[in-house]
Symmetry: C2
Subunit: 273 residues, 2 copies
Amino acid sequence: MSETKLKSIPEPARVDGDTPALRLFSLLEVIARKDQFFSLQSLVEETGLPKPTLHRMLQQLESAGMLQRDADGRFYGPGLRLRRLAEDLLLNNTVHGARHAVLRKLVEEVGESCNITALSGSEVLYLDRVETQAPLRFYLHPGSRVPAHCSASGKLFLAQMMPAQRRRLLDRAPLEKYTAQTITDFDALEREIESVKREGHAIDNEEFLPGLFCIAVLVPRPDGRSNTGIAIQAPVMRVSRDKALAFLPALKRAADAIAAIDADAMPAARTAA
Amino acid sequence: MSETKLKSIPEPARVDGDTPALRLFSLLEVIARKDQFFSLQSLVEETGLPKPTLHRMLQQLESAGMLQRDADGRFYGPGLRLRRLAEDLLLNNTVHGARHAVLRKLVEEVGESCNITALSGSEVLYLDRVETQAPLRFYLHPGSRVPAHCSASGKLFLAQMMPAQRRRLLDRAPLEKYTAQTITDFDALEREIESVKREGHAIDNEEFLPGLFCIAVLVPRPDGRSNTGIAIQAPVMRVSRDKALAFLPALKRAADAIAAIDADAMPAARTAA
DNA sequence: ACGCCATGTTCCATATACCGGAACGATGAT
DNA sequence: ATCATCGTTCCGGTATATGGAACATGGCGT
């Protein structure tokens, strides 16, 4: 929607969503971060939701076994069922664990922060990230979003689209300028994308954040339509274009490893070969 | 290929609830148990829900970031937000982890299965349980429910109520008879409860399941109204009344340990100096 | 004892979201 | 070209959520 809005407010602990169910999830997130039991009133103050509404939500969660109440009904805490859900999720989520391990190994090899990305709408979403140990570094969180036209992964996703499809996506908004290097001209972007196609990898040379250099490849897929990228991000001070290109073999190896993991987690697709 | 009907009814995988939100949770539980990505169709088959309904639910979860979709939108898997929710829950849930450790230690000390219980409505709910290693044992799951009048923990909960309150609870239904030993007479139960009050512990002598002997104490609380009990359960074959009484000191120590943990997790109550 | 305040609970008219059969669309196999 | 399969959209009827106001409870001070 609008540009990034940084909040310096402590935290209003927003609980919202477009639909009742999403609000419940949002509430659970607030609850999950607590390491103490809590009362209805404290939640009212923390979230700003109307008391009867919150009362109903908590009641609903309790009767479902997601929350538990203290004997006198004054305090709530996470319930049996919620804990089991969390355990099941983390236990069975072998995919994420394996991906994360690959990422960690890559970071060790190249000594720079790396992340796994996906295209979500017209933006690039950071799925996972491992930071380098080096003292000078960019701190970016998993879950962040970056426009496709000024990120290495984004250009890769754009490059594998049909021209018409790409046009449709980019036409929705002008190419916003973040730095002096940001490509804001459609034709220039098309030329860049041609180059990305030829090379098989993409580069972001301070196009989103000043001082941030980035190189990425796609996690390959048999059908040629990948939704996952893997990228190395480093300060230009430490990593120039040449040095980044030297990372490419390691980067491609990591991408292949992730491809193997993902293929394994796919339901018995035909692809017998 | 012939229509392979592999399923010998492995599981109906019921997804339901009284309210739309609860059904969503129920769906998430099914999903949480998967270690592979899945398609809409596969869920339709697994749950029996109408396709448009499931489609809407998945869409809702995806747009909330609880699920993620593959590039071509054919397969779903757990999303970033859901994983983070699960992690937060388990990370901050110091309470449950610590309780479980106490329970494990108790089982080690006495060599019999133990569980932590709570009163929920008029029934006793097993919050957590650790099994003994002994080959002969009762297998009871956390989450099970037992009527209060024929369980050791239940009698403790009843004993700390005001008489009127207790009457109100018990009047709702007759005292159901599970075994020859089950107390089914109100006056006899009152006498039993008097004894429980005097002793500070309660016993279930094959009153719920034939062959199951059980001894319990409350996890003490400053205000004298505890909603948590802790119990040892064993086959009568191995544990008689005398032997059970010998377990009491260890049982009380465990109860105190849990009380300390819970007090710690309580919000800054007005500190009854 | 008494009233007072903070907190939890219930009511209910209105607004909203959900439901799912049917029809349509997209994709790939034959 | 034709069919089969799976994903997606439509839409009117119905169940659910919403939250202001009022009520209930219990702890505390006087």
